[in-house]
Every structure is written in C-alpha cells, then in structure tokens.
Symmetry: C2
Subunit: 252 residues, 2 copies
C-alpha cells in the first residue's frame, strides 16, 4: 500500500485559485483483533505492519518474546491484524473486554461521531485566516524560545478567543476544549487554528465538539481529510503567507 495519496484540493496563492492534485501522507487505521475480538486501532503509515503490531504488543507488555505469539495475519485491505497469543491470552482478552466503555477501535470512533455532522458551516474568509496565522505562533512563549511545542487556538472571525500550547498535539486540543467547557463557550460556531499536522485523532477531538473548521499551518493526513469530508467539516492547511490549501468543503 502506498504511503501517500492524491487529493483534489483548492490552492490559493494571493489572488490565484486553482484546483490541483495534492500529495497527502496516508494515515492508515489498523485494527487489532485478538482471538476474533477487535481490541483497538493503531493509526499508522501502511508499511511494515507486522513489525508494528509485534513492536506494539511488546511495548504494551502483551508479549515478552516472539514465542508468546502464536500467529499474526495482516489483512491489508480490511485494515485488520488478526493476532493469537500462546500465553496469557485469556487474561488480556478478559481485561480488554471489560474496558470497552470508551470507543477505542476506529469503527467505534466513527460510530460515536454519527450524530456530529456539521450542520452550519463558517464562510471562508481567506485573508482574515492568513492574517490570523501570520501572528499565531507569537502567542506561544515556549514556541518562540524552543520551537518544541504544538499550538492550538479557538477563534472566531473577530479574533482569538483563547490559546493553548503543549508538547503533545492531543494535549493542546484537550486544553482548548477543556477551557471551552470551563468558560461555557460552545465551539460549534468557532474554528480551531493550529500549528501542527492534523491527524484523525485531532479531527475526532474537534468533531466531538462539532467545530466546523480547522485551519493549520501544516498538512492534514489522509484519514483526517476523509473524516472531514464525511462530517462536512472544512479543513484548511498550509496557511503560510498569502497561500493556503482547502482540502474539504471546497467552494464551487
């Protein structure tokens, strides 16, 4: 399977707007199935999948050596890794079975978003978004000093409502939505600005709060684009200077 994929996007460069094919990094959901039970989904590049599954099982303490592993079968088309363990299998199964209260496989995540389709989109005011992004990272002291954090801001077209940064992208999103809850702000008619790449995990966090638009300085991954399409979310990336790429909800 290829690690990149083409999408038709709208490229904006100053006054120029062109629909173009754009190369996007593939984010591939690989669901682990232990003895016929789907336990969780890894989001990865679709290469060295057997190595990934074995390394993951090892890192998580499910196996100590190859001899704990009875069989692994990767079904690339279905995105399934069928695993059987020789030892401790029942205990692990038992633990996982009891821990399915929260969605953890990709199918469960998609299911949990079924009623989250965006009903009301925001207009795309390109120049305002470019202006916002021009000064965006200046909000982060830590970014300015070290470059080593991910920044995230809740905005409307009036400007920034609040800003958070963190060493982890998922944490920056969680901080934004935690603060929105604390301050009683509904993000349904707001947008997220971010410095970092948009993976499916970030998109899902925003979709849960029905944020209609995500705007990033960087690239989205394939699965984020696919999910945004399904959810009617507008995804804009590579906002740099007078340029930006619109990935979904492309205006006619």
């Amino acid at each position: 399977m290829e690690s990149t994929k083409n999408y038709e996007i709208l490229k904006i460069k100053g006054q120029e707007k062109t629909k173009e094919e754009d190369l996007v990094v593939v984010e591939y959901p690989l669901t682990l199935e232990l003895d016929g039970k789907k336990i969780m989904t890894l989001f990865c590049s679709p290469k060295s999948l057997k190595e990934l599954v074995i390394g993951y099982l090892y890192s998580e303490g499910h196996i100590e050596s190859l001899s704990d592993l009875e069989n692994i079968q990767i079904d690339e088309k279905k995105g399934l890794a069928k695993i059987s363990l020789t030892k401790g299998r029942e205990e692990i199964l038992e633990k996982k079975k009891l821990n399915t209260g929260m969605p953890s496989t990709f199918e469960e995540i998609k299911d949990s978003l079924k009623d989250k389709r965006i009903r009301k989109n925001l207009p795309i005011h390109e120049e305002i978004l470019m202006d916002f992004m021009a000064t965006f990272t200046e909000n982060s002291d830590t970014f300015t000093k070290t470059g080593g954090v991910h920044s995230c801001g809740l905005y409307d077209y009036e400007g920034m409502i609040f800003f958070e940064d963190d060493i982890g992208r998922h944490n920056a999103y969680d901080k934004i939505f935690g603060r929105a809850l604390l301050e009683g702000i509904d993000p349904k008619d707001k947008m997220i600005l971010t410095s970092g790449r948009i993976s499916s995990e970030m998109l899902v966090k925003a979709a849960k709060r029905q944020v209609p638009m995500i705007v990033s300085k960087s690239a989205p991954m394939s699965l984020a684009i696919d999910l945004a399409n399904n959810l009617n979310m507008c995804l804009i990336g590579f906002v740099r200077g007078q340029r930006m790429n619109i990935y979904t909800n492309i205006p006619e």
Copy 2:
C-alpha cells in the same frame, strides 16, 4: 511552573567542545487520581493543567459536561490531579482497576524499568554519528516527498541495520523493535537514530530493550533527559552538520 528548563550539556561544533547551559522543553507527568486511585499519567507542558484534565476526561468520554465533574484539585508539586466525578464514577473506577495489567501511570512505568539500567555503554564517535545523520532522512521516500513522517533506524557503528518510518513517532519505534524481535537482533549493543524529538515515551520504549544510545536530529524533552540519566543511557540531540549536543553520559 516553567515550560522550559536549563540543563548542562556538551555542545560540539566541529572541533570545539563546550559545556553549556541549554534550554530544554519541559515534559511534565501529571497523574490522574480518581477517588484516590491513580489511573494514568498525562505527559504534558505544565500549563493550563485543569483545562487539560477536563478536556482529556471529555475526549475520553469520562464526562459529557462540567456537571459530571464534582471536583478537580491540581497538586502541581506532586504532579497529581485529584478528580471526583458525580456520575458513573464507580463504573469507570471498576474498569480501570481491572485494566492495570500494563503499566500506565508514570510510577508504574518507572518501576517497570528498574532492572533496565544500561550496564555497557557505547563509545561516542562523533564524526561517525554526524555522517550517519547526514544521510539519514534520505532513507525515507515518504519524508523526501512530504516531510510528514518520523524516521527511526537501528544502527551500530558499522552502519544502518534497518530503518522504519511512520506518521506516528511511537509507531516508528514500535516497528524498529518489532523487526528486531522478528529478526532475532538484540538492540542492547546498538543505537537508535531518529529524526524526531525524544519524549519520555520514546525513551521508555528504547529503555525496555536496553538500547544504550539514542541519537536525534531534534531535541529531547526534559523528562527524557531525566530518565536517561537515571538509566545510564546516552542521549544525543541536534545532530546537524558538524554540530551535536550531548545531554547525558557526558564524557569527562
């Protein structure tokens, strides 16, 4: 709490070697305690911690709104967030209690590494490491095409043994160690080269396999440095051109 911290490191620039203070991004472990039971640790920047905890609880489906939350108390010094929920608290506790087979809080992770202290270090041959890094990312087609992946390689001083890349840093590490298991290669006398930042999660994955040295093109985070110090691992960062920073196991 500050988001950056100074460490004394060895800076190498061509033939020049100087011990200097260097600004490092803080990675802060915040352990969530639900009704007196530690359930897991978030690794984050030490700011907006209450927002983070609330956003995390929401993202994971533990709370649906603020009214599900009885109380949150952040103890910054101890790195503890004491949470009590008004609803469904017992069920969640029950689930978590039954899922403690794998280490998930920072204390459990540190405990699991107790016998993993590195006994035999590798020498630091700076010029060879710089040579390796000069051509490192050329190994990744996807990186060359899109820049959107994290690369990881298992090396010894003879050269690269194998190379993996992935959209997720943790996946790239898992692929490396999965392949090492598959091919029967013990990483104990090898090193990891990587393009990405080194967080505690990456360091722990390498420590479990007792890798004595991690070499990165980017920066390590504070907690990775602290853990490496404890485990007698050598951590080298910012290997670019004729430069590199040695963060731990600094030669006298």
